[in-house]
C-alpha cells in the first residue's frame, strides 16, 4: 500500500513538471499554431539560472526560503524574457511562412542555447543546493514517506492550472486567446491585433517553462544541459495525448503520463514507463487524434 501511495505522489510530481512545460506548449500551439522546440532549452537555461542563484548556498543547510523564492522568480523572468525575445525577433517574421520554418527556427534556437550553456558550464551535472525540507524531509501518508518537494511541485502545478484558467476566463486577453484558438482570422476582423496576444502567450509559456526548470533542478538536486530535452520530449507527449491546444487536456495527460511512468517503472521494469509513454502517444494519434481534451477546439 505504501508503495502505491509513494508511486502516486512521485508520478504526480513528475506529471507536474510535464504540465509546467506542456501547458505553455498547449497555449502556444492553441493560439499560434506554432510547435516550438525552444521551450525545452528555456527550461534548461532557467534551471541553470536557478542553480546560479542557489549555488553559493550550503549544500548541507540549503538555501533560505527567500533565496529559493528569488531563484524561482529569476527562472520565471529569464524564461519569459527568452520567450519574449524569440517571439519578437525570430517568430514574428515567420508567421506567414510554413510551419516547418517555425519549427526549424525554434529547434535551431534550442540547440544553440543548450550548446551555449554547454560551452559555459560544460556537460557535467552541477549539484543544486536544496533546502532539507524540500527533498529530505518527508510526510507520512498511509505508511509512505512523501518528500515535501512532491507537494510543492503538485501544488505549483495546481495553482498554475487555476491561474491560467482564471486568466483565460476572466481577462480580456484570455478572452482574445480563447477566441483566437477557435478562429484567429475573426479575432482580427473584430479589430484586435492578435500579435499582442501571440507575444503574451509565448512569453507566458516561456515563464512557466522557466518556473518548471528551477523546480525540476531542485527536485533532481542537480542540473545539466540535457534536463530540458528530456522534459520537452514528454511535454510533447502530454501535448498530443491532451489534445493540441487544450489546457485541461494537458493537465490530464501530464498526470496520466507521470503515473504511467512511475507505476510501470516500479512494478514492471525500469525504463518501460518511458516506452509506454510513446506507445500511448502513438495510440492516441491513431485512435483519437484530437486527444483527451481536444474534442472541440477549446482551451478550457
Amino acid at each position: 500500500m505504501s508503495n502505491v501511495i509513494l508511486m502516486i505522489f512521485t508520478g504526480l510530481s513528475v506529471g507536474a513538471v510535464y504540465f509546467l512545460l506542456g501547458s505553455g506548449l498547449a497555449l502556444i500551439f492553441g493560439l499560434m499554431r506554432v510547435l516550438t522546440f525552444a521551450h525545452g532549452a528555456y527550461l534548461t537555461a532557467c534551471a541553470y539560472a536557478g542553480w546560479f542563484v542557489l549555488r553559493h548556498s550550503s549544500l548541507a543547510a540549503g538555501p533560505s526560503v527567500g533565496t529559493l523564492l528569488f531563484a524561482l522568480l529569476v527562472g520565471v523572468v529569464v524564461g519569459g524574457a527568452l520567450a519574449f525575445l524569440t517571439e519578437r525577433v525570430l517568430l514574428r517574421a515567420l508567421y506567414q511562412r510554413d510551419h516547418l520554418d517555425q519549427l526549424l527556427v525554434t529547434a535551431g534556437l534550442g540547440f544553440s542555447l543548450v550548446a551555449l550553456l554547454n560551452g559555459i558550464w560544460g556537460p557535467d551535472s552541477r549539484a543544486v543546493p536544496t533546502p532539507p525540507w524540500f527533498t529530505r524531509t518527508t510526510t507520512e501518508i498511509f505508511g509512505a514517506h512523501i518528500a515535501r518537494g512532491d507537494f510543492v511541485l503538485i501544488g505549483v502545478a495546481v495553482l498554475l492550472l487555476i491561474a491560467l484558467e482564471a486568466f483565460l476566463k476572466h481577462t480580456r486577453h484570455g478572452l482574445v486567446v480563447r477566441a483566437g484558438v477557435e478562429n484567429r482570422e475573426m479575432v482580427r476582423a473584430l479589430g484586435i491585433d492578435v500579435r499582442h496576444s501571440f507575444t503574451l502567450i509565448f512569453t507566458v509559456g516561456g515563464a512557466v517553462a522557466g518556473l518548471g526548470g528551477v523546480l525540476a533542478a531542485l527536485y533532481a538536486n542537480a542540473v545539466n544541459t540535457t534536463i530540458g530535452d528530456t522534459y520537452l520530449l514528454y511535454a510533447f507527449i502530454v501535448l498530443v495525448v491532451g489534445g493540441l491546444g487544450s489546457l485541461r487536456g494537458a493537465a490530464i495527460a501530464a498526470l496520466a503520463v507521470g503515473l504511467l511512468q512511475q507505476f510501470t517503472n516500479f512494478y514492471v521494469n525500469p525504463g518501460l514507463g518511458e516506452i509506454l509513454s510513446f506507445i500511448l502517444m502513438g495510440a492516441m494519434l491513431l485512435l483519437r487524434p484530437e486527444g483527451v481534451g481536444g474534442k472541440k477546439i477549446r482551451l478550457i
Partner: protein
C-alpha cells in the same frame, strides 16, 4: 451633397489571390454613404473575396479608399478600427465562448458599445448571454453575428450573405433588422436571395469572373429582368421572404 458623389468606400483596380489563384481581377467598386449596396453575382465570382480583400484578410493589391484615406496597405485590425464592422458568410461566432463573451470581445477600445441597441434588435440574445454560442441555432448564431457587427457605431458594415441557410421565418426577422439598421449606416452586402436584395438595396454591384460589370442604382435590378438573366442566372423570385 449627392451621396453618389460622396462615396464612403472606393475600390480601384483591386486584385486578390488565394494561393496561386487570381480571384479578383481589377475590381472597381463605389459604395455611397448612408446607402445599402448589394453585391450580386453567381457563386464563386469573388463577392466574398472582395469583402475580405477590403478588410485585408486576403493577399491583395490595388487601391482601397475609406472615408478619404487609403487603407489598401493597412493591417486588418487597423482597417476595422477605422469604423468597419464585418458579418462573415458563415457567421463565425466563437462556439466555445458564451453569447455575452462573443459580444464583449467585439467591444472596440475607446468606443461605446451599443448593448441597448443590439438587445432591442435581438431580445433573444439578452436571455442567452450565458449560453455557449455553439449551442445556438443557425438563426440565433446569425443574430449574434449581426449583433457583433452592430455593437460598435461603425461607419460601414460589410455583411456577407446574412440569409444564407436560414429558415424563411428567420430570414424575415433578419431582413427586418437589416432594414431598420440600414438607414443609420452604410452597408455593403453580399446577398444571393434576389428578393431580399431588391428589398434592401439602394445600389447594386454585379460581379462576373472577379470583376464588377455593373455598379449603379438598384432600380436597374428592379426594372431590368434582362440584367438579372444576363449576369446572375438566378430566379428573380427566389422566395417570398423578402417581400
Amino acid at each position: 451633397m449627392n451621396p453618389d458623389h460622396d462615396p464612403l468606400l472606393e475600390v480601384t483596380d483591386l486584385h486578390a489571390y488565394l494561393g496561386d489563384s487570381h480571384i479578383l481581377q481589377g475590381v472597381r467598386l463605389t459604395v455611397p454613404r448612408h446607402r445599402v449596396t448589394v453585391l450580386l453575382g453567381r457563386n464563386g465570382v469573388g463577392k466574398t473575396t472582395t469583402m475580405r480583400a477590403v478588410l485585408g484578410l486576403v493577399r491583395r493589391t490595388g487601391r482601397v479608399v475609406f472615408a478619404g484615406d487609403e487603407i489598401g496597405q493597412e493591417e486588418t485590425h487597423d482597417i476595422v478600427r477605422r469604423g468597419i464592422g464585418y458579418v462573415p458568410e458563415d457567421r463565425d461566432v466563437f462556439h466555445g465562448l458564451t453569447v455575452g463573451e462573443n459580444l464583449r470581445i467585439a467591444e472596440r477600445r475607446g468606443g461605446r458599445p451599443r448593448y441597448d441597441l443590439v438587445y432591442e434588435l435581438f431580445p433573444e440574445l439578452k436571455n442567452r448571454t450565458k449560453h455557449l454560442a455553439g449551442t445556438l441555432s443557425g438563426g440565433q448564431q446569425q443574430m449574434l453575428s449581426l449583433a457583433r457587427g452592430l455593437l460598435n457605431d461603425n461607419d460601414l458594415l460589410l455583411i456577407d450573405e446574412p440569409t444564407k441557410g436560414l429558415a424563411p421565418v428567420v430570414v424575415r426577422e433578419v431582413v427586418d433588422v437589416l432594414e431598420r439598421t440600414a438607414g443609420q449606416t452604410t452597408v455593403l452586402m453580399v446577398e444571393q436571395n434576389l428578393a431580399v436584395a431588391r428589398r434592401l438595396a439602394d445600389h447594386i454591384a454585379v460581379m462576373v469572373d472577379g470583376a464588377i460589370v455593373l455598379n449603379g442604382p438598384a432600380t436597374r435590378l428592379a426594372d431590368d429582368d434582362e440584367t438579372v438573366r444576363a449576369y446572375l442566372s438566378v430566379e428573380s423570385a427566389i422566395s417570398g421572404a423578402g417581400s
